[in-house]
Symmetry: C2
């Protein structure tokens, strides 16, 4: 999917919501556990109930790997279901990969070609030759970790590196990578005041923003400081939507919470 197509969807749906499909068998409604593939059935119900309210789905790969081959099968079925029934939706493999060149190419093929994700999250620590193999794929997007929403972000990301914080070095250095137009960035919502500085470095890039809701971030603040001319934001919510209820009404409850966020976004977009 091109960035232009993503922007069209955002304007059409009045939404820049991304729903995180982080399926934990201990948290999903118990009646699903009797089915053959509870992870996929849960995702399918959530997707059926929310696809008109969001522009992106983001399975965190850890939750699937944790269930071994069954988890991997559920992931394959989920991405195929989205691509077949809702090809207009932007898909993110939240994998946080990053390895040396030939290995990065293996990961890129797995997620971009075999699973047909539109994008993948990548850790920047190993630098240029760990990121560029992902950037080489046309109309695929590499979402680089810049400033994450967890407490550990302060260990290294906000430390001063040659006069500016490490996450700013990551933003600036990554702009010099070949095919850097295929970059997006992860920036946590819990640090809304940082968005002004970030937009000075990358005025138009899309930012994937975790941490609204469960982790304490505020949607209004993020939009105030982080929104670009073309919106440039994908706000992720996982637990706050998919675990809105753990009864048989879980999909409707998820849709209700997604709708609340979508409507807040619609108000912001039409301001």
């Amino acid at each position: 999917m091109t960035t232009k197509e993503l922007i069209i969807q955002i304007k059409k749906k009045n939404s820049f919501l991304c729903i995180g499909l982080d399926v934990d068998l201990n948290k999903i409604p118990q009646h699903l556990l009797k089915l053959e593939d509870p992870i996929f059935e849960f995702n399918k119900a959530i997707i059926d109930a929310t696809h008109h309210l969001c522009v992106a789905y983001k399975p965190n790969i850890a939750f699937y790997e944790a269930y071994g081959i069954k988890g991997w099968q559920a992931l394959e079925k989920t991405i195929k279901y989205i691509n077949k029934n809702h090809p207009e939706i932007f898909t993110i493999a939240d994998a946080k990969r990053g390895d040396i060149g030939n290995t990065s190419t293996m990961y890129a093929k797995a997620f971009f070609e075999d699973l047909e994700f539109d994008s993948i999250t990548i850790a920047p620590y190993m630098g240029k030759d760990s990121v560029e193999p992902f950037l080489a794929f046309k109309n695929k997007h590499t979402i680089l970790l810049a400033l994450t929403s967890n407490q550990g972000a302060f260990d290294f990301q906000t430390k001063q590196v040659e006069g500016k914080e490490l996450y700013k070095q990551v933003l600036e250095t990554s702009k010099t990578y070949t095919n850097s137009e295929n970059l997006m960035y992860v920036v946590g919502a819990t640090k809304a005041e940082y968005f002004t500085e970030i937009r000075k470095i990358i005025p138009n890039s899309f930012l994937l923003v975790p941490g609204v809701g469960a982790q304490g971030g505020n949607l209004q603040d993020v939009c105030k400081y982080g929104m670009s001319e073309n919106v440039g934001l994908l706000i992720n919510s996982s637990r706050g939507i998919i675990y809105a209820s753990n009864n048989t009404d879980f999909a409707e409850a998820a849709a209700k919470n997604a709708k609340d966020l979508q409507q807040e976004m619609e108000t912001i977009l039409n301001k």
Copy 2:
């Protein structure tokens, strides 16, 4: 496996060799492709031919994920085969994961409990709460990326952060994490002169050292500057061993190259 048991194995085998099982179907002998599970059959032959020469095996997870469910099955069979037939061998899931707390726990369970790896490689960018969930597992080891062997390492890892290079900040900060005794570190062989400085910060920690051979690193230099009292080194070789031949004699050729490295190690150990 405890660190003590690893050291015993090193002394018993006169080897601190780790063999990287990075199986690429385009590079393995063509006659294997007719078998039902060529990846596992390749690994099994390599393991049968080399297990007495090395103390560790390190499958890079990217190579398995690239083949989807079949790859994942081959990985499961490989680790089970090692654990059943050679339980004295230290196993490393070269996964380079790292995510926020609850997600890291999912990865840790997948690799430590379900697949029963002894260790996993982890990227440090997200800091303390992305690493500590791995450290919580007893007799399991978390191998943190410090200074990698690729060109991109110079993008961020060697940049000055508050008066010292980022990789040194990673070493020092990680020592303050809970259960830091379960840490090991990735340090590339291509930068042997860095080992002196690294040993000042972590005198006894085990270092997983890629980059000997194919990437240009020199075993003698690494040992001269990097060896600790208890050896403290696992030298990895992947392509140089497993792709020594792509004919039917591939396993013997791999054993020959492994033996060459092991004998060089034996000489160093007995100096």
